[in-house]
Subunit: 197 residues, 2 copies
């Protein structure tokens, strides 16, 4: 299982935004949409062994489970529409977690709640981290990423220093980081399988 | 210099499509938009040493030059709007190349024309290629990628067999391939610089 926890520091908490303006009125929801695509979408299929947690303003959590996910297309707008549906479902049923469309769950929650929930070893993708190359990852692993804003001090405080990993010398968009991490793990797992044969 | 040549087999040749429907009426222009973002957009800046060639139905070429590029944002819709502007400019001035917005040029052209133009060593990102790891790339390098459709036989015929490189064991979206290639080259160049210091 691979999990990606993406922090949307300004992301909309209500569905009253235009799908024509995901970067603006939706609070850079475009970034989160692209992270969802990078986490799940293969050229001709969905990665079923992936879970994505979108943490919106440290108040709401949208969880996407690859094993149950339906209706996901790779473009930003249709993913934005799925997230908008989730926000609408939460507005109508704010008291408990609700599955707004197959595989997409929304509830109140914080980054701490998500970290308490995930069973995988947690790493943080951070420019100041150790290089990812050479690290041997367990089968089950979770990565925390921030949107266009830096991690806040209260977020940093939740992680151990050695959890921070860097993907390279440049500061990249979160969705590109997800694609690079997947590739890193895909190649490592393939090499391991080949060695075992 | 790094160049990315992306084949849009069904991409719109005229601007009469809706920005609300980049995957549909625009012929999977969403893929090309995401490739543009992956090629140019860093977390807080533009890669100026990159050129992207979008080859639309092997009839039109939209060339984006990082050194001159303006008005590029990372979201799909605003990139789609820039490409739509280019198609409109071509419709009004079909006889010669035109710069529709700073750094974006459009003209009639084919994949062959682009390959004749680029001076970089050309590689093709292809599931059946050699693994990219271990390959030492020159400073100037170009990569050809296909959209959601496979390379066609007449396209394949333009490349040498040893030009084909694979990024890993799974078939990935073109924009994710661009992000992975950039990261591969970034790390290699950084390692070289560090060795030279």
């Amino acid at each position: 299982m691979r999990s990606f926890i993406v922090l949307g520091h300004r992301a909309a908490l209500t569905p009253d935004f235009s799908l024509n303006d995901l970067p603006g009125s939706a609070g850079r929801l475009d970034i989160l949409c692209r992270c969802v695509t990078a986490a799940f979408c293969l050229s001709h299929g969905i990665r079923r062994d992936v879970t994505v947690y979108l943490v919106l303003q440290n108040q709401l959590v949208i969880r996407l489970e690859g094993a149950r996910l339906k209706h996901l297309n790779p473009d930003e707008r249709s993913t934005g529409a799925l997230l908008q549906k989730a926000l609408k479902a939460h507005q109508e049923h704010p008291e408990s977690e609700i599955e707004s469309t197959p595989g997409i769950f929304i509830s109140r929650g914080t980054l701490s709640d998500v970290l308490a929930r995930v069973r995988e070893r947690v790493y943080v993708l951070h420019e100041a981290g150790r290089p990812i190359n050479g690290i041997v990852f367990p089968q089950d692993v979770a990565f925390v990423l921030s949107d266009h804003l830096d991690f806040q001090p209260d977020e940093e405080a939740l992680f151990k220093d050695d959890a921070r990993l860097s993907l390279g010398p440049l500061s990249l968009h979160a969705d590109h980081c997800v694609a690079i991490v997947h590739n890193h793990l895909d190649r490592a797992q393939f090499a391991n399988r080949t060695l075992l044969v």
